[in-house]
């Protein structure tokens, strides 16, 4: 690939239909950082994070009543909701935004960060919170500091529920003491470590980031009290705009010690201050640099590129655009040979972007992603989807892509694969691919071959 192809394929979602490639590749990417729209129109119609939390409780209450219900229409509506139609629309809107975006590099960054701060809709309680997690809590923060992004994304209702923080109690908290006194809890010194562990291991320092079990427990205690707004919030509750909440009565009293620093007791801000320090820690810089380099350039990225990004992160105090600029500026980012296998999501979006085909707001699209092993917003663990091709690019996945390409090609109408191939890969189209397309027995078959060509599979 040459520079302009790399800008579109490696850093974006491929070229748009009928838009010839041109311009300065680095300038193209830099402009996208400035022009990113955090809340494009297709995403505006969905429930806010706070509303989604309310709906979650309403939904649970209604589901409880469903059994004895007479109103068939309401029953159907609720059942449909339970089937996930809303989520299919949200996924389709997300895909549509990516496929039509003027700033596909920024959209790639959004999806990168969502995978970094992974929550899974496979968890029933989290299902309806995943979209706002990304749309409301991640999108507006990706062009600021990592500290702001971390605070925004690690303490969302979706994350607090997904990692069981929302019903955690400090062992010595007022609420826990009361529960023990009433015989509703046993007491003891146990604290839920789930979110604290993942913040340290996945979101910030990384697995060998120099923290130990004591740090996990201390952070876990600092996080107690962070929860979501309910129908009956305890007295003194602080309610935040996104539906998250801080219940002081559940918070573990006292100062905390994390990574050698002392944090005095000041309620909700105690955890926030710890997160701010973790966000600029050198181990975090290395962790984020490695993940970004891996995502954009290669499963095994060049150590020199990691070092460049790490340095940009450290010197800027975790200013994300500075890190993105370093990625754009690094020689290592522009290696001509494609080294990343497109993820199922990237491949599908590139097809829709390149052909202009609309994305169905129905379950077919989400089911397709599921068939490919990467259902949208349903990563297998808090670590997100693996960013190394061997984890998902197997023989069966390839066969599924060929079948899907075949189905897509049947809808491609009058498109000329020969022209599309030239438009998408003006400099890197191989003889093997152009020959296969030219010899196809029909225009449709030509499209199918283009969609599964090695050029389209990698970036």
């Amino acid at each position: 690939m040459n520079g302009i192809e790399i800008a579109h394929h490696r850093f974006g979602y491929g070229p748009r239909a009928n838009a010839p490639l041109g311009g300065d590749p680095r300038q193209l990417l830099r402009a996208q950082l400035d022009n990113f729209d955090p809340m494009p129109t297709p995403l505006k119609s969905f429930s806010s994070s706070a509303r989604a939390v309310e709906e979650y409780f309403e939904h649970r209450r209604k589901l409880g009543q469903l059994r004895g219900m007479q109103d068939a229409e309401e029953k159907t509506r609720l059942a449909r909701r339970a089937r996930g139609d809303v989520r299919a629309q949200q996924v389709a809107a997300r895909a549509e935004v990516a496929a039509r975006s003027d700033t596909p590099f920024a959209e790639r960054l959004v999806h990168f960060w969502t995978n970094h701060f992974a929550v899974s809709a496979a968890n029933n309680k989290v299902r309806d919170l995943t979209a706002s997690h990304e749309f409301e809590r991640i999108r507006p923060r990706i062009m600021g500091s990592f500290a702001d992004l971390l605070e925004s994304a690690a303490l969302t209702p979706a994350m607090l529920v997904y990692l069981d923080q929302f019903n955690a109690f400090g062992p010595a908290s007022v609420a826990m003491q009361r529960r023990v006194a009433r015989g509703r809890a046993k007491g003891g010194s146990q604290v839920n470590e789930n979110l604290a562990r993942e913040i340290l291991e996945l979101h910030t320092l990384g697995v060998n980031g120099g923290y130990d079990q004591a740090d996990i427990i201390e952070l876990a205690k600092a996080l107690t009290g962070w929860s979501i707004k309910t129908n009956s919030n305890p007295r003194g509750a602080q309610l935040f705009g996104d539906g998250s909440a801080f219940f002081a009565v559940r918070h573990e009293p006292g100062a905390r010690q994390v990574m050698g620093r002392r944090y005095s007791a000041d309620g909700a801000d105690q955890a926030r201050r710890i997160l701010r320090d973790l966000a600029t820690h050198p181990a975090t810089a290395k962790h984020i640099a490695t993940k970004l380099a891996r995502h954009f350039t290669a499963d095994m990225p060049a150590p020199s590129l990691i070092a460049i990004l790490e340095q940009a992160f450290l010197t800027s105090g975790g200013d994300l655009p500075t890190v993105y600029q370093a990625l754009i500026g690094a020689r290592e980012s522009w290696v001509s040979r494609p080294r990343k296998f497109r993820t199922p999501w990237e491949w599908l979006i590139a097809i829709h972007r390149g052909t202009g085909a609309t994305i169905p707001a129905r379950r077919q699209f989400t089911n397709l992603l599921r068939d490919f092993g990467q259902p949208a917003w349903e990563p297998p663990s808090p670590a997100g989807f693996d960013d190394i091709a061997s984890a998902w690019a197997g023989p069966d996945a390839l066969m599924r892509r060929v079948n899907a390409a075949n189905a897509y090609s049947n809808r491609a109408g009058n498109m000329d694969a020969r022209a599309l191939a030239q438009q998408w890969f003006p400099h890197s189209l191989s003889n093997a691919t152009s020959t296969a397309i030219a010899r196809a027995e029909s225009p449709q078959q030509g499209i199918a071959l283009l969609l599964v060509s090695p050029e389209m599979m990698r970036r």
Partner: protein
């Protein structure tokens, strides 16, 4: 593989009308039915209807001409492919007519361009944006017959001013054998993809995907097509696409399989239409023929003239039409292909006009604007 791609390829078809049963509100003004079967990939016409009476047949065709000893005859000089049992029976009954040495006005050898010319009815590729079949139906002051494509999107021949719907079942789609073969070639030089793909094919082999499945699919397609044309609300014009005819290597096996499926589809269509068969015209054509002599891969390459078939109760069948050009080297087009001596456009215009009682010259003008097309006569019964 017949039909699988176009008929069963629906998983991605969510935005189409295809997923819901088509709305066919309008009552049909006619009992006449027209089915256009587009065979994509260029069928070898000399295999469908072998000119066994031509003195050069055996020597020119070699292996490709060996299976016709006891094949059903069509007159003295021609024989149907041995797999075309239903077609041979229709021919004997007078419900199948063949036209040989026929081609569209296109004389190059690109599938894309040839299909574009054949379907659009233009004089050159990409000249017209609508199709002859659609324009044929647009008669002044008359409600056009209900038209439908048995596909996930409407093929060019059926696109245009007349409203058309499409229908395809939303089964999990599987790519055709032919596409898979081509993917193998595409990945041959790519270490990673080649390895993954070969492994995928092996797995698929184990899970079983045999000719019976192709046949079952073909029969289902025929039944489905018939059901879409049934009753007052049914379609009167239906287009079917069949892919997978591009036989560059090992043609005998490929065509045995393809033609068996094709024959099964026609049989299922006839059975499914019941008494409506008497009012039915099926036109079956392909974008061009193939070379007369086999190539070193035991296949044939892109050629020029081929054979077209008309079937159904409407057809003045039991005859093979055409001005036979001969198979000797000196008689071939550009020294390699069967020479075209008749025009597909004339066949289409004559057959469609008569089926729907249109004025032939006017129908020809609508279908093939800017061409001097003389509609063929007497293709249909009485």
């Amino acid at each position: 593989m017949i039909q699988r791609r176009t008929l069963l390829g629906g998983a991605m078809a969510a935005t189409l009308t295809a997923l819901a049963p088509p709305a066919l509100g309008r009552s049909a003004p006619t009992d006449k039915r027209l089915v256009f079967i587009m065979l994509r990939g260029a069928v070898d016409g000399l295999s469908i209807l072998a000119p066994i009476g031509d003195p050069a047949f055996a020597s020119q065709r070699g292996e490709l001409g060996e299976d016709y000893g006891s094949a059903p005859r069509a007159g003295h000089d021609f024989a149907f492919h041995p797999e075309l049992k239903n077609l041979a029976a229709l021919y004997a009954k007078g419900d199948c007519l063949a036209h040989h040495a026929i081609a569209s006005n296109y004389r190059e050898r690109s599938h894309f361009d040839a299909q574009n010319v054949l379907e659009s009815g233009g004089t050159r590729p990409y000249e017209l944006r609508s199709g002859w079949l659609n324009r044929a139906l647009a008669v002044d002051d008359q409600a056009p017959p209900t038209a439908m494509a048995l596909a996930t999107s409407i093929p060019l021949a059926l696109r245009g001013p007349t409203p058309v719907s499409s229908y395809a079942p939303s089964h999990v789609p599987e790519a055709s054998e032919d596409l898979m073969r081509r993917v193998s070639m595409l990945y041959a030089g790519d270490e990673q993809l080649h390895g993954l793909w070969e492994s995928a094919l092996e797995t698929r082999e184990l899970t079983g995907d045999d000719a019976t499945k192709d046949l079952r699919n073909a029969e289902k397609s025929g039944q489905l097509a018939a059901s879409l044309m049934r009753g007052d609300a049914g379609a009167r014009v239906l287009m079917i696409e069949i892919n997978g005819w591009d036989s560059h290597s090992r043609q005998v096996g490929q065509l045995n399989r393809m033609l068996r499926s094709y024959d099964a589809l026609i049989g299922a269509l006839q059975t499914g239409l019941g008494s409506d068969w008497a009012n039915t015209l099926i036109i079956s054509a392909t974008e061009f023929g193939r070379t007369v002599k086999p190539n070193p891969s035991r296949g044939t390459d892109h050629g020029t003239a081929g054979a077209a078939l008309l079937m159904g109760g409407s057809v003045n069948g039991g005859q093979v039409l055409g001005d036979w050009p001969g198979l000797a080297d000196s008689q071939l087009y550009e020294g390699r292909d069967l020479k075209p001596t008749a025009s597909l456009e004339s066949l289409f215009a004559g057959a469609v006009a008569d089926q729907f009682a249109m004025v032939p010259s006017k129908a020809a003008q609508r279908m093939f604007p800017g061409q001097a097309v003389t509609p063929m006569q007497d293709l249909l019964k009485g």
